[in-house]
Symmetry: C2
Subunit: 451 residues, 2 copies
């Protein structure tokens, strides 16, 4: 049987995603703040048989000791970023098969409030919801916006995320038995009190005690996504994630990461196919190779040095614009951020900017529809990859429409994508199964009260 | 000119609102967790010319030292309660004139996160959003669910709410100038950095520093609602609220409260018509007086003693079911909750239950369509009231449909309700004006960067 390719669209509720491509005439993100903009996006993605629309998120903004540099505001780098959790029901009201994955931060949110929000959305979307678990970048700005005091060290943030996941899965899995709700009007019994249980989580970072105030939805636990690239991040993903979003730029790098994630998962008692591993990709498709190459060249030329430096600032806390471009950088230990792992030998500021310019967005696929489809298939077959998160180039629904019209029919024809005809939960869409619940090997299963 | 009556529908994302009326055959809240249920509600309310759909909220649940009593689960008292902020965009996608007011808690939320959420919703709804500011009931359960340590004393909760409102209005009003966004693609300038300002709030309860990451929506600050009944609560409302939700049961009580709120507001430099004062009401309408009276009698008989006691537990932390029903209660000073103000002379448990049974839901209007319309008009004319929040009886859209078909046409005919033909912001719908912004006398106006 041909391996199916999982397809997601990676978006941010902003005018911009990476770089400066929003300044291109092909961009149409000006109305990104409106519901109509995202309704159009959802319709395009559903028509193109995407499995889900994925919302990245940024709580803070690029910031150094003087706050946000002017360049970040001017070029809209990682800001504005509106709250994606608020738009899901609007899109669920618009399309009935597309799924939605929303990023929420274990640094910014409280476990009970997040569990309640996603629990409610599981009902409103009829199970079409996933949670992308992040600790958040832009920590310098974030801790000031939220009044958290100090930046938490990188690996400790993952310890907190681990505990956060325990707390929320206890609420989702451990409070209401499957048959607790009886809605017996004559007997004055909405739910059987014997089948609704208080959970108690008392840990290093969080205390959560009480019953869950949301009745179980189709999935109980939303489908869990994660995108950490560091060693600690992968360990977390291997234990927790049902979908891993990686951003490797080559077949070799993808092979290595996929093998590593699946091996780590096996040590937690999970099977290789318990995790869908998806790679971020920029796809440029045109009727001729020449036209596609020309668009790719435009994209490569788009990012200004200022915009690239602001992205780097958001990820690392280091403002390259304030440093001497010819001198080497060796500040890794001060920041402990995985993005700097690549630079531990001390590249210069100029080298970092050049590196960002060529690597931003990770994998790139460019060509005619036939060529793009074949490159996608090759990548999947050579790396054990499960699918792609297609990232914006210029921004707006139009580029997904083109991909959907030109490339998707070829992938359907070759059996790599199924046309979905019936709505289902996100988890069943990705993994099949007779219900929408986490499987028995997932870390959340130990907290179940209903078997 | 005839005074217009403002109309809201007060709802909770739950199977139940007050009492046990959900057990009646006329109830249709079984699918309260679904989007389709609320879409139908929104369509009914828009067709009936309601100004807004108001979502109350409960974070915790009735709780004593042993957690939630079985009776609260069985009778669905104040639980389940799903997260209403998640459904707004789904309803904004469904109807285009109805407005939405969502309760969010200054105890449970962080100012920046709440500001971001409502700022995003202001765009998605095109200005049709209000925030009902609460400190939250059910504090015993809430602090355990959120890991907050201790219950904050009643008046201190209002001090915190005051500071919370300062912090969020600084973000909404004080960060982006009106013309900051230029979207100049050729000039690589999304926004003019000179016109985007960091705000800094450093207070007793909150620290918030940085730019706001949401561009200004049609209202900037969502229309502000508040419902506190205590003296401190009214002082907060008089300074902060644009709409006050009170629950007085008689003309005399309403007159007193309305006068008090308007006098307090004047001391903050606000005008009487800067605040819409709305009263909660249970309306029963039928074709004959006899039929209406019969329905009212069914409603009065519906609440079980257990359900009433559980409501009281949620509001006060006192579990009447665990006390001797014949002995007087004098625990007011231990709890400091306004609901107990009425009982400071020490009523017995039985007297409290009886009192709740007759007073639950506050004002009641019962009769034929003509009679109901006239009673509403009388109440407005005798008390200087601005309108009503119509609360559920049995629950579900049907009772609003009946009210919309039988009573609203009479109110339109007499000039008390306008048929709205064009979408507008919530603030303009309630107060008119050339833009959707807070007026110059509101406490948030001092934080403005754009005039």
């Amino acid at each position: 049987m041909t391996k199916k390719i999982t397809l997601g669209a990676s978006q941010l509720m902003s005018v911009n995603f990476y770089s400066s491509a929003w300044t291109d005439r092909r961009n149409d993100t000006k109305s990104f703040a409106t519901l109509a903009y995202w309704q159009e996006m959802a319709r395009v993605l559903e028509a193109a048989h995407f499995d889900f629309l994925f919302f990245a998120d940024v709580i803070g903004f690029p910031s150094d000791e003087n706050g946000i540099p002017a360049a970040a505001i001017r070029e809209a780098v990682q800001t504005p970023a509106h709250d994606p959790v608020t738009i899901v029901s609007g899109l669920a009201a618009t399309v009935d098969k597309l799924n939605f994955v929303v990023t929420s931060s274990t640094t910014a949110e409280r476990p009970f409030m997040l569990a309640r929000r996603f629990g409610t959305l599981d009902h409103l979307t009829e199970g079409r919801i996933g949670w992308n678990i992040v600790n958040s970048d832009n920590q310098t700005a974030l801790v000031k916006l939220l009044g958290l005091g100090e930046v938490t060290e990188h690996d400790t943030r993952y310890d907190r995320a681990d505990e956060f996941v325990d707390a929320v899965t206890k609420l989702w899995e451990g409070s209401w038995e499957d048959d607790a709700v009886v809605f017996d009007q004559a007997g004055h019994t909405f739910a059987d009190p014997e089948k609704v249980h208080s959970i108690a989580h008392h840990g290093r970072f969080f205390d959560v005690e009480g019953i869950f105030t949301v009745v179980p939805g189709p999935q109980r636990t939303p489908t869990l996504f994660q995108a950490g690239a560091s060693s600690r991040g992968r360990e977390f993903a291997a234990r927790t994630a049902e979908c891993v979003y990686m951003q490797e730029a080559t077949v070799e790098a993808a092979q290595t990461t996929i093998r590593d994630v699946r091996e780590r998962a096996a040590r937690f008692g999970r099977r290789p196919d318990d995790i869908k591993i998806l790679n971020g990709v920029s796809i440029v498709v045109a009727d001729t190779e020449e036209e596609a190459a020309s668009i790719r060249a435009d994209l490569a030329a788009a990012p200004s040095t200022e915009a690239l430096a602001m992205h780097f600032l958001g990820w690392t806390g280091i403002n390259l614009l304030a440093l001497d471009a010819s001198k080497p950088l060796s500040q890794r230990s001060e920041f402990g951020h995985s993005t700097l792992d690549r630079y531990e030998d001390g590249p210069t500021v100029g080298e970092i900017i050049d590196g960002l310019r060529s690597s931003l967005g990770g994998l790139k696929i460019t060509g005619t529809p036939e060529s793009v489809a074949q490159q996608m298939i090759d990548m999947v077959e050579q790396t054990d990859l499960d699918g792609f998160l297609i990232e914006p180039n210029f921004g707006g629904p139009e580029e997904y429409r083109v991909f959907g019209e030109k490339v998707v029919p070829l992938l359907i024809e070759r059996g790599f994508i199924d046309e979905q005809t019936e709505p289902t939960t996100l988890r069943q869409r990705l993994f099949g199964g007779s219900d929408g619940h986490i499987n028995d090997r997932h870390r959340g299963a130990e907290f179940r009260v209903s078997q």
